[in-house]
Symmetry: C2
DNA sequence: TTAGTATTTAACCATTAAGTTAATTAACCG
DNA sequence: CGGTTAATTAACTTAATGGTTAAATACTAA
């Protein structure tokens, strides 16, 4: 809950951990469920470590049922990433608008004014 | 341009680098402009390294004007982060809805039915 | 109590990351 | 040319990551 962006982003920087998040977004699962798809490429303790990183970042919560450890995904840190990113929405929309205008200029030049068309050698 | 999420997220995991992005979102700046606010807490080579991380992640582009190196922010990787995050929008909205319903239940219990109100001891 | 299942911890190793200081490159200015 | 400014590279230290295997914990079930 005292999640900070440093830990969140750094947890998200690993593809294994992003895959685990994808899995958990479709519902709770315990460690062995989560581990299964990865056991060809890494050991169970490696999985435990990845889950610990996600847990420290507040991205998942582990509970206890008998020997099992059901994990669930937490929304808050994902929302924080979203909020951080939205800060720059204006910036990238403007960027893409400029690109669009540029592309329009290019096609106008090639089709209407018959200037050199780089795509045809 | 061949930016991947691993490098992007890992670049964003550092507060210095996020501050650099914030600066660049308000306009181009060269290395010494970007460095200035950080030179009390780190050396110039450290700044160079942070900028290199951002560059490898495709988040910024460095050009050359005389001895200066103007840097500009690139929209694409930020958009990719946004897209990745949006995948989970449904998930967190649902989470927050459940929380809202829960909170509503609590206040209903305390105010209408006169059950124990934890906030008043 | 003993065996089995689920998961974590310990100890270790190799690689990468973040910082340092000192030296180097590159371009400009007089 | 020689000095100054802007930035990078080199070489090094320290700490963090991501993986390993082997041992330990914690619970269930017979």
């Amino acid at each position: 809950m005292i999640s900070n962006l440093d830990q969140t982003f750094s947890a998200l920087a690993d593809p294994t951990r992003r895959a685990m998040i994808a899995r958990l977004s479709r519902g709770e699962a315990d460690v062995s469920d989560i581990a299964r798809p990865f056991l060809r490429s890494m050991s169970l303790p490696a999985v435990t470590k990845h889950l610990k990183v996600l847990e420290r970042a507040g991205l998942i919560t582990k509970t206890r049922v008998a020997q099992r450890r059901p994990c669930k995904l937490n929304a808050a840190p994902l929302k924080e990433v979203e909020d951080w990113t939205q800060q720059y929405r204006a910036f990238w929309e403007e960027s893409f608008d400029r690109l669009e205008v540029f592309l329009k200029t290019v096609t106008t030049n090639t089709t209407k004014k018959g200037k050199k068309n780089v795509r045809n050698k």
